[in-house]
Amino acid sequence: MFARTSTVGTRVPAGVTPPSQIVPLRHPGRTASAIVVLLLAFGLGWSLLTNPGFGWPTVLHYLFNQKILDGLKTTLILTFSAESLGIVFGVVLAACRMSQNRVLSTVAGAYLWFFRGTPLLVQLVFWYNLSALYPRIALGIPFTHHVFWSANTNDVLSLWLVAILGLTLNESAYMAEIVRGGLLSVPRHQAEAASALGMSRFGTFTRIVLPQALRVIVPPTGNQAIGMLKSSALVSVIALADLLYSAQLIYAMNFQTIPLLVVVSLWYLVWTTVLSSIQSRIERHYGRGVHASVAPTGVQWRKAMEGVRAGVAMRATLRAGGERA
């Protein structure tokens, strides 16, 4: 009744009613690639379980070891304090960078250039050795002999302070650019609409511009926090006993290098998962009023998956119906 045409379509003569049921296109490539990937994943999983080199009993033994837990605590405190201070200082830097005051914006630019331009590892070692450059730190009036307070650099800069200082100064340079990007993403007319209503510059910033900027600022900040969790491991070079350094101390004694690195990785994974879930919660909060750009919650995921399953079932029914026809 219907003739195949030279193209891939079908010619329908006038007056003939074409069928209305639709048979979806099949995707054999998808099935094939899924099978290949599943096989590879199975192989990897199998070797993880069966290779004795991973030393799973040793991993379990050290997972809740007191030294490891102390190291974890150090890592978390470092991450939390350096990231929060980095965000605060980053906002200040971003404000300076965007300031109409040329001196402020140039100095902020130079700061970013320096701290983004040198490796964090070098910066940490540098702060650690600051006493070689400035043996004493003093607070007074420059170019006079008035000194209110002074102390040995090494007494002031404890290991902890060096670590937090080094991580914070570096982090704030990156955060400054993230914050600046977020503020620039809010259309200028939003601030204009607020000032047309008589809102002050401070009110306009805190109530109108910042909440909208945060929608853009939060995802890369989550990224930074996760990055910070792991780059805090660099403090092991100044012998601060973070998670990695604690594990290194243990495997230097018992040579169980791989199992202890597995322990360390597991803890990092646990906390990156925690940080990601905090991030998606904050994202949802600042995604108010914006469609379809909000990460789904657990419930929403389940609903979405139900939708997918329903779609698959419907498609199967349709296919069966189509074949019958």
Partner: protein, 265 residues
């Protein structure tokens, strides 16, 4: 409409807005070349002109969203953005200008609602933060203003779920709730789909009937003819012709006005 407008008693005499020899340059481009204009209390003034004629800039100079290059704007008897001292105009601090702006309400072409706030939050924001009105009272005022523009049923919706016409009506409510002395409309229907223009113009017509002083930049000749008390035609940064709609629209004196009216009818 139930909201009351123009409670000021001291300034009830004389024009609400006086623009005196207003100049505005953007770089080397002279956008306003010495504009003089007076708007009386309760008057609806429609400003016509081609894009680039300086009409939006003039409107934005009234509430100092644009800083004039020279000249004075007086709203409700008070010099906007400046303090006169020693025979010169001195710039005011941003906080002082913000206080002055609260006397003018502005409606933008693209509504500019705050997308992260619900309709209700949009409307109570300025009363709460600028005037320090208590939340319950602000909500009561906002409900009245939203009812006036027919948007009370959407108080909990986010702007992104509303049509352009609905967003613009909320924007009008957001400005009205501050009880301004004068309302400035900057092409309020130009961004709307044709079928949504009517609902916004209706709200503006009803607002005009309450005696609100309004300055409206628009291309809606029908609105100008039926609602405006005074029509102004601007071209190339100057005021070409001013008068009642029956003159400026139906019997323009100047050739430039005639050509323009013909082109948009």
């Amino acid at each position: 409409m139930t909201t009351t407008h123009g409670t000021s008693t001291a300034q009830d005499e004389g024009p609400v807005v006086r623009i005196i020899d207003l100049h505005k340059n953007f770089g080397s481009v002279e956008v306003l070349k010495g504009v003089n204009l007076e708007v009386q209390r309760g008057e609806v003034m429609v400003i016509l002109g081609r894009s680039g004629s300086g009409k939006s800039t003039m409107l934005r100079c009234i509430n100092h969203l644009e800083q004039p290059t020279a000249g004075t704007v007086i709203v409700d008897g008070e010099v906007m953005g400046h303090r006169i001292s020693g025979g010169r105009l001195h710039e005011l601090k941003p906080s002082a200008v913000a206080r002055q702006r609260a006397k003018t309400g502005m409606v933008f072409q693209s509504y500019h609602l705050f997308p992260h706030m619900t309709v209700m939050e949009n409307v109570i924001e300025a009363p709460r933060k600028v005037k320090g009105v208590a939340k319950d009272e602000a909500i009561r005022l906002a409900q009245a203003a939203l009812k006036d523009v027919g948007m009370a049923h959407k108080a909990d919706a986010y702007p992104s779920t509303l049509s352009g016409g609905q967003q613009q009506r909320v924007a009008i409510a957001r400005a009205l709730v501050m009880n301004p002395t004068v309302m400035l409309f900057d092409e309020p229907t130009s961004a709307l789909d044709p079928e949504l223009v009517g609902e916004v113009l209706d709200v503006m017509k009803r607002l005009a009937q309450t005696g609100m002083t309004m300055i409206v930049v628009t291309h809606e000749i029908g609105f100008a003819r039926s609602v405006a008390d005074e029509v102004v035609f601007m071209a190339e940064g100057t005021l070409v012709e001013q008068g009642p709609p029956s003159q400026v629209i139906d019997a323009p004196l100047h050739e430039a006005t005639r050509t323009f009216i013909k082109s948009i009818l």
